[in-house]
Symmetry: D2
């Protein structure tokens, strides 16, 4: 992990802090606070602050439902009830702040989640480090054929080498030119080009970094979309580490999240009618033709069935 000594020193120093607080704390999260959690080749996430825990969700829900929630036997049941019925506001009551280093093309996907606070390293003010993302060979894949996005088969090692070679070459040269333009050494034979301008021909795999703060509700939305197999591999790598953080931070919410969000399935009105027929044992369900071929496949896969040959054509 290419973190300079300075940076590691700061992490170590921050981790020695011990304060007394009346606020609730989460031991499992305190354990990893400030630590660098590596992602991709040079990226990381670090939890730098948090507010609230599972109990904060419960506390907010209980003020809403007031005495009405006295009948809910325990906090776990209440959190599952909230999650299941999309009562989302109590989950806004807990907050997480991360320090993230990530390639710019990942940052561009990430920033589309608008309900978060972000402070990014500015290449107008400062000079970008010589740090770039290159995929490992196994992650270099062909464009999928049956799908409009995403990756298909892995390429051969030789092809992977050639591709990474090209990327490295372009990237290195761009960065050398960037330094040349900045002229930090103040060579009098050429100007020191404005930073905001010199950086425009740097590639999208250049690493940037930011502080990112969001509440638990929006964090779950982020994770659900970005840890999904349809998300680009590189942002998924971040989302998966954030899931692990979430598991430490709010274990009860996390469990409910898996049950009612990440691993749940949404059935369309037509799909419900089809499954209803099938459960009644009525043979080939009549509604199947109303679904597209892909929807049919997915529906059957959901329940571990294979699509009958008669329904497997458009």
């Amino acid at each position: 992990l290419s973190i300079g000594g300075d940076e590691q020193d700061q992490v170590d120093k921050a981790r020695t802090l011990r304060n007394e607080t009346r606020r609730p704390t989460v031991c499992a999260l305190e354990e990893i606070l400030y630590q660098i959690i590596p992602v991709l080749d040079h990226g990381f996430i670090r939890v730098v602050d948090y507010m609230g825990d599972d109990a904060a969700v419960v506390q907010a829900a209980r003020v809403s439902y007031g005495t009405g929630t006295r009948t809910v036997s325990d906090d776990r049941a209440l959190i599952r009830y909230l999650m299941r019925h999309f009562h989302t506001t109590p989950f806004e009551m807990a907050e997480l702040k991360l320090h993230v280093r990530l390639p710019i093309f990942v940052a561009r996907q990430w920033i589309r989640h608008r309900t978060a606070s972000v402070n990014e390293y500015s290449a107008r003010y400062s000079i970008l480090d010589r740090e770039f993302y290159f995929p490992t060979a196994v992650n270099i894949r062909e464009q999928t054929k049956d799908n409009r996005q995403g990756r298909g088969e892995a390429v051969t090692d030789r092809d992977a080498d050639a591709i990474i070679g090209l990327m490295r070459e372009d990237t290195e040269r761009s960065y050398e030119h960037y330094l040349w333009m900045l002229n930090e050494e103040k060579d009098p034979s050429r100007p020191s080009v404005a930073r905001e301008l010199a950086r425009i021909s740097l590639p999208l795999n250049t690493y940037t970094q930011w502080y990112w703060k969001t509440n638990l509700h929006n964090l779950m939305h982020f994770v659900q979309l970005r840890a999904d197999p349809h998300a680009q591999f590189e942002i998924r790598a971040y989302a998966e580490e954030i899931m692990k953080v979430m598991m430490k931070w709010v274990p009860v919410t996390f469990e409910a999240f898996l049950e009612y969000r990440a691993n749940s399935k949404q059935l369309s009105a037509t799909a419900v009618a089809i499954i209803t027929e099938m459960l009644k044992g009525n043979g080939a369900p009549s509604g199947l033709s109303k679904l597209s071929l892909r929807e049919r496949k997915e529906l059957f896969e959901t329940f571990g069935l294979s699509l009958p040959a008669s329904s497997a054509s458009k």
Copy 2:
């Protein structure tokens, strides 16, 4: 302060908590954490959680400006720089959570601040307490004559008594009817009307409560609008207590907020031209007639001057 023994017990219990944390803490805020800060006759605010401090603002700004901020001599100068140039995102990095009891008509103004998280006591699930806001005599005022909103002169004590008397009478009767409709005593001679329905004829001065969480940037916006003399007295009472909390929590930001927001003045393009002329000692500034009478008055008041008679008419 009409807080039941139960409630005070919970506050006391929460305040005995002492946890160890690696997070930064703010002693002055820990001091008052969970405590009931009375507002109006039966309202309160309580700080129930917080995240970050002045240093969190600085930390986020430094990641943005990177090495560029090395030249900023100290944190106070950086915070003032951010405030002055409306670089608002670093202020989103600190977060405050309040528990608030407030009259419904105040809640209706408060909720217009959309960038916050709220969980309100639900009168669909639970029964509202017999708690209502009544203004003190000194706060019962006439409709202003020169302004389209707000209060003017105080009424006489006798009038105030009459008005409060009417309010109490209506409120009491409505609440009695509410209880009668709820029929919690399960009198078999009448139904137990649905709570969501029984509450609809309760008055707007009924107290409700909520958890309200927002970041420092939005908190400042709230305070600026709601502690303003044009805000309704009752919400201003809350905003002023929140300002005191803010002063304990983020004293450096608070000082900059006073300087560049709360006590600053915005001069229109025309006003700038007028003051420019006046500073040059050109006698009666030519642009004055471009301002409305009210704008003229306000401009002169801003600088402790009285409007020349020649400019005091429409």
Copy 3:
């Protein structure tokens, strides 16, 4: 419908407008533009402006997916694809503006949808009309017993009369007192109390009005939550009228909304496992005990089955 002559005149006048535009228009929506659509006893919604249509959703999606969408056979298929995969941003590209008159207690639920623009009639500046919501007898119901919110059985007509009688009485008296305090007739024997203060003992069933503008994505979210049987009857009445407007405005999106949102079902991870077992014909599914009794009931109801007696206890 208690709309003054003035108001109806304005509607009629606005409806005579005919402008030429290069923007796309929706005939079925133009047909009802500005018209008063009654809701409850004195409420209404009126479409006062709109932007975009089904084609605007498609247009935005095609810029995202670029040439990738050339394979999507038609617009309807694309809209269904977007809805099904929660690609929600293209639905933000169409916008609707309503003028709504609604009781204050409904406004309080409505306003919780934060991603909308609102301008409400201000009782600080203006005097509220003598207009109140009273439920019809059939809508006066008892508090449900098995549920923590909402209404159960209807009450008898005699009870309904008594309840409405109480509400009318309280409401009328409060309004008389409101007028007395305002003293618009300038009776010199008493003050004219500030409007912002005089209104605080008015009841929650007083009608207010606002302009409300939101995009199609947020409109669908509103409708899904507020046209739901768990929503309070009174806000549901509004949501149902908005659904009819949506059907005229964006018929293709509306159809997809019914299929993949309003009439869809979300199955939890455990529920998926249970249905999988049942489809394999394995008899009583082993996972059933992991669900709460209510979840079990709902799952079986979803597929038109009755819960086996062996699973019908906690």
Copy 4:
């Protein structure tokens, strides 16, 4: 302007549309609807839809202030009143939708405005065009010395040529490698790398495009920040064209925007005290030392004065 024939055809075709609508229309904006307004070397903005006009702002304000606004003589005065007192919600009632082609580094600054709807061309689904931004010679400038961001002096023509040459070279090579990786020609000797991966070494000056929709309030915020001299030249070029669009669309709001926002000045509490002293002719104002040197300079510049030598040092 490098727009393919297809694109221009579509613009021309869209511009032939003529529909009848009951909605208000803005002739000056209809005039330019769909037209390509060039920005930078290959960028553009196009207005593709709009909702509302100056009258929509007035209409929303009048519902808020109700009869209270009858005393406001005319719409222009009301709009100026709203702008001056930061009553911002009525400005949310008008909406603009743009189609924009812009370099990725500009898109990264633009997207930080979170309260807007965006659909961007996706390089996961589609292939990016061979279009890159290169600054003109006059816009290639040195890093400022006295400021932490932005550009200072222009470089010589020879230096400019060298810099643009480097940028072109890097950009061209990266794009050639991108095409090679994509292997759209399906050369069997190498794989067709996934689009989402092949694009990661493209430079930040590659053009992207999006649909961007926001309301008038947020549009003004965007313009104020991005047409500011401190904004990077390239995004400023877009903001300035958007200002021209705004002037056509909502001329009264635009005029008020210039007066109370764009050309207004915010004076800090200390600055107000200083100007107050100066207007009283008290000689050197005592508060000057409380301001930083930069603040002092800016304050004097605001009013066309030069800083007295005695105050011109730190």
